[in-house]
């Protein structure tokens, strides 16, 4: 067959052929609105989207550049029915044609979305979402259970928030996959395990943001049932603010994000302290108020007329007592004064000066008399002494000693009598002779008759 483009003898190169194809296609279908089901959706690291659109018979490769993709207001998922606007492109080096999509819209309800609505209606009818089944969260959980990926961003966010608020927190993580096939089974197992075996006070289940497919495990029935049957209160913290999953509806509380879940589960230590502090202040105030009230009541009683009267009477008596005291003092003082006055007068009456004079003159008299007496005494003594001397002289003269001195001796007989005559002694008698100076004993050897002793 002959054509205008090539002949057997002048065949086209592949490039030429491709160019023709490219020109034809891109001319014929410069841009078009196309509808189809999306599949094999991939978001590349660059941000460009690659996917296929198909209907029952055919499919075509598509891609959407990053800028255009950014303007899409939803997350495309396999199975979605989409309406796109784009232009055909032939990629010569690969010999591939594709649709470069510039605009993308959802058409009606995607398959997954339908599943979502169906399950939501079913479980809702069974009462899984009813508010009366929702449990209250503990005020201060002593043990917090987590069901999430150990390597995801969610667990780090949750832990960061928890530890920042309450450094002494106790957390137990059940590691589970949070996307892909079978993730929902792991999540459900984790909820059961923590609920039945680990006595946590609250659970947080969730994951970080992602596509609707990524989050899909939290829309699965097995997870919803596990949440519902758990005795522990559960917070569902899946994806971002705008993502709502069946877990969110079933859980006792929904958190917008994993961090938000951590915030809902525990307050900061300062807040708890403040709560306690406020209660303490409250109590202090109440007790003070009470005491003040009672004080007032006492005060009121004190101002009761009965008390006033009693007090005034007591005052009255007190005053009387003071008066009496003062009066008695005054009287005593007066008496004291008058007595002192009498004393003074008596003293004056005694005229001590006159007494002194009298004393002086008497003293003088006494002195005179004393010396007179001495004189008289001396004279008297003199006289007496003389008398005595005279008598002494006479005595001396009469003294036997004087006589003895003149050579006379006194003789005593054996009968100790004074011998005056020879008759007073016997012959041979021992006689005792007292001389003027000394004594001697002698014997009578001869006697003579008495001689007249008297001379006159």
């Amino acid at each position: 067959m002959e054509s205008s483009f090539s002949t057997r003898s002048q065949p086209m190169s592949i490039s030429r052929l491709t160019q023709q194809i490219k020109g034809a296609l891109e001319e014929q279908v410069p841009c078009a609105w196309v509808v189809g089901e999306i599949s094999n959706f991939k978001r590349a690291g660059s941000g460009h989207w690659y996917f296929s659109l198909k209907d029952e018979h055919c499919q075509i490769r598509c891609n959407m550049w990053r800028n255009a993709a950014g303007r899409v207001g939803f997350q495309p998922r396999d199975g979605m029915e989409l309406l796109v606007f784009g232009n055909l492109n032939v990629y010569a080096p690969r010999g591939e044609y594709s649709l470069v999509v510039d605009r993308m819209e959802e058409v009606g309800v995607g398959r997954l979305k339908m599943e979502f609505e169906k399950l939501k209606a079913k479980l809702g009818a069974e009462g899984l979402f009813d508010p009366q089944h929702k449990k209250r969260l503990p005020l201060l959980p002593q043990k917090i259970g987590l069901v999430t990926s150990p390597t995801g961003a969610a667990v780090r966010d949750i832990l960061r928030v928890l530890l920042h608020r309450f450094p002494g927190v106790h957390v137990l993580l059940y590691p589970a996959r949070v996307q892909g096939k079978g993730a929902e089974e792991e999540i459900a197992r984790g909820i059961k395990w923590l609920d039945e075996r680990e006595s946590c006070d609250v659970l947080i289940i969730g994951r970080g943001g992602g596509s609707e497919e990524d989050l899909w495990c939290f829309n699965e029935e097995v997870v919803a049932r596990a949440i519902f049957e758990a005795k522990t209160p559960i917070i569902s913290a899946v994806g971002h603010e705008v993502d709502f999953t069946i877990s969110d509806f079933t859980a006792d509380l929904r958190a917008a994000t994993p961090s938000n879940g951590a915030e809902l589960v525990i307050k900061s230590r300062a807040e708890y302290s403040q709560m306690i502090g406020m209660m303490r202040k409250n109590m202090d105030r109440s007790i003070q108020r009470k005491i003040l009230q009672l004080k007032n009541r006492v005060g009121v009683s004190e101002s009761n007329p009965i008390f006033i009267r009693i007090r005034s009477r007591v005052n009255h008596y007190q005053r009387r007592l003071v008066d009496l005291d003062q009066t008695s003092r005054r009287i005593l003082e007066k008496r004291l004064q008058s007595l002192e006055l009498r004393l003074l007068r008596m003293r004056e009456a005694l005229r001590p000066d006159r007494l002194a004079n009298r004393a002086a003159s008497l003293q003088q008299k006494l002195n005179t008399a004393s010396s007179d007496l001495e004189t008289l005494l001396a004279q008297h003594m003199e006289g007496k002494l003389q008398g005595l001397a005279t008598l002494t002289g006479r005595l001396e003269d009469l003294s036997p000693l004087k006589i003895l001195n003149r050579g006379y001796a006194t003789v005593f007989n054996e009968k100790q009598q004074v011998v005056r005559s020879p008759e007073d002694v016997q012959f041979g008698e021992i006689i005792h002779v007292r001389l003027a100076r000394g004594e001697l004993d002698a014997r009578v050897i001869e006697k003579e008759e008495a001689v007249q002793a008297e001379l006159f």
Binding site: P138, L139, L140, P141, Q142, P150, R156, L159, R160, L163, F166, P167, G168, V169, H170, V171, L172, L173, Y174, P175, W193, E196, R197, E198, S199, D201, K231, R269, Y272, S273, M275, I276, G277, M279, R280, N282, M283, S286, I287, R289, K290, I291, Q293, L294
Partner: protein, 79 residues
């Protein structure tokens, strides 16, 4: 089913709240009021103690058997 332990903190706080309400209502005679006040002060100390003595513990469950797990310290690697 593991036994659910009553959170002591919450219980005590509830008691304290009760005492606060009691005192606030002003219907107690003086001795009872002082008694309650003392109890309240003790509770507030105990509660603060709980807050201060809480020990940080971050664990992860590691599978030891098909249906058994054991808690181990979890390396948080927080950035």
């Amino acid at each position: 089913m593991a036994k659910k332990k009553e959170p002591a903190f919450e219980e005590q706080l509830a008691l304290l709240e009760g005492i606060v309400r009691e005192l606030d209502s002003d219907e107690l005679p003086l001795e009872k009021a002082i008694e309650s006040y003392e109890k309240g002060v003790k509770l507030s100390f105990a509660l603060n103690k709980t807050l201060e003595e809480a020990q940080r513990k971050i664990e992860v469950l590691t599978q030891t058997a098909r249906d058994d797990y054991r808690a181990e310290p979890f390396d948080e690697k927080l950035d």
